[in-house]
Symmetry: D2
Subunit: 430 residues, 4 copies
């Protein structure tokens, strides 16, 4: 009986129209059922790119469409890999389910939220798959141990390293989908690479996806796309300015709650998080609809710091920013001046640092394996030993930092000496 | 002083990256200021295509990006039209502001909401432009009468018919943007037409935008794109099923309120609408964040009809549907059977009819003028007299209807005779 | 032995990069061998769109890439159709070979050449497949009767009507490829339709490819694309002006040859055609390289008519044109005036008429069947009975005509009365 | 009078539809007249990518469309640069004409032809502009010295270094067009970069085009596109195999001519080249129509080497190839074995080496300047000092070599010892 469900096919194939992959194809009953669960539908209410819409207005897409896209890429990989035998129906199903569900644990505005409340989307992905959820009930119809198998693929601990590398490695379905999708949605060219060709040159081995020799240039192109997307799009300082605001807002709300502040409308769904006693159920309720509702409510709060920050976020009155490298001018110099001027630096002066490695060859502690090339002779080599371009960018750990502050507030400082000092320092930075 | 602001240019041009127009260019201070108002920023929180994401998952874009797009098209039109003299700085500004603001009065899930609460986005556009709003304050900096001028362009009552026809006619910037944008975002080919060419063949006349003779095929292509987008995308029954649910939910919530039902969490921002005493301020608060928050809350309401409908909407458990033409089988036949089975037809049986004319030549009462062709000889002719294809589709008033119902509920009817009768009738329809 | 070849697969799949289909996939030895024959390679030397590059400079692609594209579409159709059983390996091979070779008999500048020399590309396709050629030798390796089978599919006489309809019907692989390809290459939007979706809604029946009910709009879109491509692209009067010149040139060269004129360099490969005794071998030699070489040589010929016309063709000094409908002004009026002015109307005054039916429901004598829709109920209906748009354009036999003449020559007429009369008549036409 | 022509505008703008730039816009009479000259029309008969169609079948476009594209990019640059004052009508015209004509001196299959016959397209560009040609006559209508000015821009010797850098530098209109165009035509993604953005970040200075700081990533993307196009497309060994054949054919034909061999049909238009006495007129006649005609004729020549090589080229029976690095196995080892086997190594064994620098910072002798970044502060820096990615690829002089030989010929060697030795050596290389 249980096995029946496992291999059950839909009467006729279902498709979703998708601008990146043209169509998403579903033939397995279990995939269809997973998509219909409320935990998966919830991903429609969490934006893929958080606050990036502040910088790129059209970046309005959700984690739902991305998750379908990752599933579709893995579906194609499995289809291609079947040329190289050894691919069982069970492995196929495991790969498809893990692909579909890999992001199911994301919360609203993941990064800033996790920072303040100490939640972690990877932990929640596991909890949602293993807990008392619709997703869990669907997976268990395959067999009691199936949820655990899916969760362990996503957590990198499953014994089938090949499937893990399809979903999470330096050239996986996740990255291939989001680079293409984010590029399509924002309208930039940077994220485009030849995904059909990449899929054609991938060869499954026991422990990982290998790249055929002839595909080396396609990988170079993919890595450069990734590099460009990080520096041109994902790290856009206007978008990060939105995250800075969120971090400050969450911080303030938490501080107010801890102090016993009485909210005009108590943010009931946030309280378990304030009190660090949230359950999976609490977590699942807290999507971006709820979070944005509170943010909009807080525009009318009594607390002036909270209402100013919320107003800035909701109505996009972002902080200004200047490049910042501690040392040249120190944060504490500015901090003291802000304090002297009566502007709380804790909420109105923030540095934000970010960095990315386009390709990470073997940094100690990296959970991602290097990319391996399969030579025609059958030998296997790490890619940066083969490509001068990749060698050039390997381990390149580029970082950058900005200092965010509210310019209008500074301009309104009444003490001219302090004001001038601040403006001079900011000017030296820019 | 006032005039200074009117013609004030930004120090350097600002651009927004846009996937449809490549870039949106802003050089006027007033446009920049309007975009920054909270009423315009609010459009980020209203989806362009309502519930279409139920059928096309990637249809997640907002009225904000569409509004920028309409502005950009009008900006290009004005640039092109300046070849044909007579275009003043004042007319240019009027056209740009009206283009940007033409949708500022939209509310959450416009159609179903307006149907139940009797609000009207055109009226609200006017109220927002003329009322006590940031938009109004920006426009008034040009001159006291400028808000009225902008509002009357949008309301089709301004004396400059040319500008009206640029923003609202059968081939206007509004339609040109949304066909392209919705097509791009959903990934379908239907909505694509050669917008560059259309812009090149447009010639301004005193009262309207004319189309050069040589552009007739481009207009045919545009009208067919429009036709296809309506029937393939906008009228998708799965999306309309989402709207049907919304209509029922709003109806139920209103009925409950009127009956004195006590909501677990009172939907305070809806109450002015229940009581038909809403102000512009109430209207502006009610975006899709707020509306979705209530819908999510209602999943947990005591009232079983409201919580079932809300659950269906939030977790996408849509009604089933069959084609429906009253007469063959009557609605009342089914209605009685539903009642007999204890399923309230008012909330669980709904017909939905929709129709569109791809091109409307001179239907009495149409507020849109026909499209006119400018012949090389200088004479002007209505386009369907020139194009056999357009003639063929002129006045073609195609309509369609569906009957929506919850299949699982029907399957659970205990009285077998009633159940069979219902299933037979539904079967005859499909 | 022979059967071995028939089903022989390449060691590893070969692909051609293609901008329309992304990749062309070849797995069968026989397809690979056919592509390598010199008769198929010759298609690289014949432009797909003849003289269209005069109007659209980038229309420089050959029948070679188009033929690969038709093959690829049929390959995908067969793959899809295999879901509906009954598809044998032999039928698959027959369909693929016929698709690849359907245009192998095209000559240089097909239309004008065929008009003057009475050759016919369909006859030559057959002769090449059945004659003493590399193509024939490859096909015969399957079995002695295989060339005949392939030829009869292309000639519409094979008993397998389904395969015929895949390659040649009102919605076949040939049209699907050329609309997309010509649209891509010229950069116009008109020819774009959703080919993936069309392929998905096609269902094989015994005698033809049917279209699923749900695909009706995709067919509407395809037919409108076809209509637009004909009137906007293929019938562009500048391109047809190039064909007019070719017709005149071939006519003149033939007349000169028949009169015993001595060419500076005898066009030896054309002589068999002048003498109506050409063989398949002669035909295969005569590609556009050879034909263009002669055209370039003729710029230096002694005969003034030939050298003028050749110079006009080679250096794109095209005739002017005006709309022309015999009756209003008669051709003979102008003819007499041209004669009186000493300009030979036979070579310098030509009317060109063209027409197309976007969809041809049941014109007597049409070799193409109507398009049939497969309803969900299983019944089959002709598409114009289902679609108001298609009904509107069915049988629409739009035609147009132009009169071509050399303006500079007219301007240089010394007799002012004649000149004025001609200019007046031309003016009335335009 | 003369000045009138210089600034003469067309009555109405003319456009060419173009798939890369959407439209090419022409408003100046002189540009229109240059396009109509026979020397410019001749570019339709020279392929942009030589023998690349052997590897990428759709690479069939000509230097004509590329030349229009370069003109269009320069036209847009000039339009953008007019924001930064100091741009005179005369400079504009000079830039446009030089852009349009920069490739007018290309001959058939440029590289192989130039190698054997010692012609040089840059020299011929100059000769065509200054010689007795239609192009020269059009240019002279501006003023007697104008042809010299245009030629000196193309030759890098004009005093206006800014205009030179627009047309020929490391980030010029020439490269921007061909990368985009070749990418579009072949259907690969590699050559795509954001040309609109690049144009927006370009700022004219006295001596060159500078790139605004904010455009650094766009330049990185452009340089990586260039790198990928060279290694993935332009250096494709199958395409280079076609050039190898051409080189051998030209060599053989020349040798035969010098030896007094009597051709079946004397290649009259090549004789001036054989005899090193060709004029501009001879050069202009020799386009790819003529050259291909001779190649097709030679398939039937008596000389067995010439007819085999020509047959291979015309019917695409290319040589095989293996990687080759002299030293490991020497060319002379194989040469002796070929000779011993009776296969002339001069015509059947060829090494081909190619290399490219993606960005060339200051190689001595480089005629291309480095790319300079304009910082917000106003200072100017060489780009590799600013970008870690560009630094990584600067001066990277990657090269590669292949050895070409006819496999079937080797397989037919009768002496088994020699054959085995050859096969072993080839095997070690691959």
């Amino acid at each position: 009986m249980v096995t029946d469900y496992k291999y059950e096919q839909l009467e006729s194939e279902k498709v979703f129209k998708d601008p990146v992959h043209s169509y998403i194809h579903v033939t397995d009953r279990i995939i269809w059922d997973l998509i219909k669960t409320k935990e998966f539908q919830r991903l429609r209410r969490i934006k893929q790119l958080g606050t990036l819409y502040f910088a790129f207005p059209s970046a309005e897409h959700s984690r739902f469409t991305h998750s379908l896209g990752v599933y579709e890429i893995v579906r194609k990989m499995v289809e291609n890999f079947s040329r190289y035998d050894k691919w069982t129906k069970d492995d196929r199903l495991l790969a498809l389910c893990a692909a579909l569900l890999h992001d199911v644990g994301h919360g609203p505005f993941s990064h800033s939220f996790e920072k303040i409340f100490g939640t972690d989307h990877e932990t929640y992905t596991k909890k949602i798959i293993l807990g008392d959820t619709e997703v869990n009930r669907v997976l268990k119809r395959v067999d009691e141990s199936f949820p655990e198998a899916v969760a362990s693929v996503i957590a990198h601990t499953h014994e089938n390293k090949l499937i893990i590398s399809m979903i999470s490695s330096q050239i996986d379905a996740d990255r291939m989908d989001y680079l293409q999708r984010d590029s399509y949605v924002t309208g930039v060219e940077y994220g485009k690479f030849d995904i059909d060709r990449l899929l054609r040159v991938m060869v499954p081995s026991k422990d990982e996806v290998l790249i055929k020799d002839s595909g080396m240039h396609a990988v170079e192109d993919y890595l450069m796309s990734r590099y460009q997307m990080y520096w041109q799009i994902y790290f856009h300082p206007v978008s990060r300015g939105g995250e800075v605001l969120l971090t400050l807002i969450f911080n303030r709300a938490k501080e107010l709650y801890e102090r016993g502040y009485v909210f005009k409308q108590p943010p009931k769904y946030l309280i378990p998080f304030f009190e660090k006693r949230e359950t999976v159920h609490d977590y699942l309720i807290l999507d971006e609809t709820v979070m944005n509702f509170y943010l909009q409510e807080w525009v009318e709060e009594i607390d002036e710091i909270l209402n100013e920050l919320a107003d800035r976020f909701v109505n996009r009155k972002l902080f200004n920013y200047v490049p910042f490298y501690d040392g040249f001018i120190t944060y504490s110099e500015l901090e003291s001046l802000f304090e002297a001027a009566g502007i709380d630096p804790k909420y109105f002066l923030l540095t934000d640092k970010y960095s990315d490695m386009p390709y990470d060859y073997d940094r100690p502690g990296s959970s991602r394996q290097p990319i391996h090339i399969l030579k025609e002779s059958g030998s296997i080599r790490e890619i940066s030993a083969e490509s001068v371009v990749i060698q050039a960018i390997t381990g390149l750990d580029r970082s950058n930092a900005k200092l965010y502050y509210p310019k209008e507030k500074v301009m309104r400082i009444k003490d001219d000496t302090i004001k001038k000092k601040i403006l001079n320092l900011l000017n030296e930075l820019s």
